[in-house]
Every structure is written in C-alpha cells, then in structure tokens.
Amino acid sequence: MAGNANGETTRVDTLLNSALESADEAERLVVNVARESGFVEEDLHQIGMAVRESIVNAVVHGNRYHRRKKVHLSVLSADDRLTVIVADEGEGFDLSALPDPLAEHNLLQQSGRGIFLIRTFMDDFQVRRLSPHGTEVKLVKLKHPSKVEED
C-alpha cells in the first residue's frame, strides 16, 4: 500500500453505527493495527482506551444515538506513529467549555473525564468542526516520543 505525503498508510477506513457496541468494535480494530505496527502492551491499552472514549463521545454526545447517523473511523500508520481519526455527524461541541476534571470542585462529578483521558494517553489530540455538521477528532500516538522531532 502506498503512503500519503506524511508517509502514512491507511489501515482502516470504515463507518460505524451510532451504538455503544461500536466502541468495542473500534477499540478492537485500532488495537489490532497498533499491535501489528509494533506498539508495546501499555501503549495498546492507552490507545484502546483513547479510541473507546472518542467513539463514545461521537455516539453519545455527537450523534446522540441517532440510528441514521454514522461514525467514521480511520486509522493510519507510519513508521513512527499511529493516527486515528473519528468523525461524527452531530452539532459539535466547544472544547473550551469543558470543565477541568482535576479541579477540586469537580473531582466528585460523575462525568467529564473522557477528553482528559484521551489527552493524557495520546501524544496529540486535535478537534475540528466539519461542514455542514459534525466533529472530527484526530489522535496521534508516537512510538518513541522522545526521538521524534516536533512539527
């Protein structure tokens, strides 16, 4: 398979239903690619959890379980990184409006830790609005963060 300009090869490109079971399916797909790409076990766990949280956000907060809306999952691999792109068809959300789950007054909140865990477990996390609807999140995990130059 030929790589793109960044040397990335598309390994997964699929549409998932707006159901919680899609989180299991996506986690399995991405972890398989990550394992084949040579990531170590602890990285696999972190990648899997970040993907699960991203899909849950897309299904629950983006598509709101709407049966006709889909979640688009893409996985690209390169020698030094794994890139996961998750896009929903919802109305979008404002990252800056999310409360800090580590603030003392938020510690006992039941929800609000998903994005925080994604940021913690991945090396890069970007969000962009899609036109006319939807939100796309891009997650990147580096194999050797200390050896990769900053963009």
Binding site: E53, V56, L107, L108, Q109, S111, L117
Partner: protein, 114 residues
C-alpha cells in the same frame, strides 16, 4: 464481560466482589444498580473488591465516584480493595486516589470500619 457484583458479609461489613469490565452501558449500569440495591437495603459499610476488574473507562470511574457519594449521602462509607495497576493508575491520573480509601488487604479494609 460486563461487570458482575457478588456481595458477601464479613461481620457487619459488606464486601462486594466485582469482576469484568466497567464500561459505559451494561457494565456501568450493573455497578450502579448493585450499589443502589445494597444502599436501599440499609448496607452502610461497603468494600468494593476490584481485583477481578479487567478494564474500566471514564464512565466506570464515574460510577465509582457515584457509588462513593451515594453511600456517603446515606450515612455510610465505601472503600476500595485490591486495585489492579491500571485501575490504580487511572485513579491517580484523575486525582481520585486520595478521595477513596484504598486497601490491599481485605482484613485491613474490614477492620478500618471499627
């Protein structure tokens, strides 16, 4: 496998052996329903044994927090026992490790209620 709860009595303390995955959906609702039932039945000294919890996501963490506050709001205490490394790491990352009373020994956890 979704979370399964098996409560047992050790003196006046209820130890709940939890196994499986605590993730959004069946896993988290099983934990929520199980704790609610115990609280409604008047159990006030609870220990959650998480030794056999293989996976927990942000929703599962939220359910642990919810269980903690639910028991406390009913005049009880909920403590955690036998965290796996991954669950322990998650609680540390989210700054919840110091919110919960965490034990590695069931005997010590049970005695802590005395």
């Amino acid at each position: 496998m979704s979370a399964k709860l098996s409560p047992r009595q050790v003196g006046d303390v209820t130890v709940v052996d939890v196994s499986g995955r605590i993730t959004l959906g069946e896993g988290s609702s099983n934990l929520r329903d199980g704790i609610r039932t115990l609280v409604n039945d008047g159990h006030k000294k609870l220990v959650l044994n998480l030794a056999d919890v293989s996976y927990i996501d942000s929703s599962g963490i939220g359910e642990l927090v919810s269980a903690f506050t639910s028991v406390a709001n009913n005049g009880g205490h909920l403590k955690l026992l036998n965290l796996t490394k991954r669950v322990r790491d998650l609680l540390q990352i989210t700054k919840l490790y110091t919110v919960f009373d965490v034990y590695d020994s069931e005997t010590t956890a049970v005695r802590s209620f005395a």
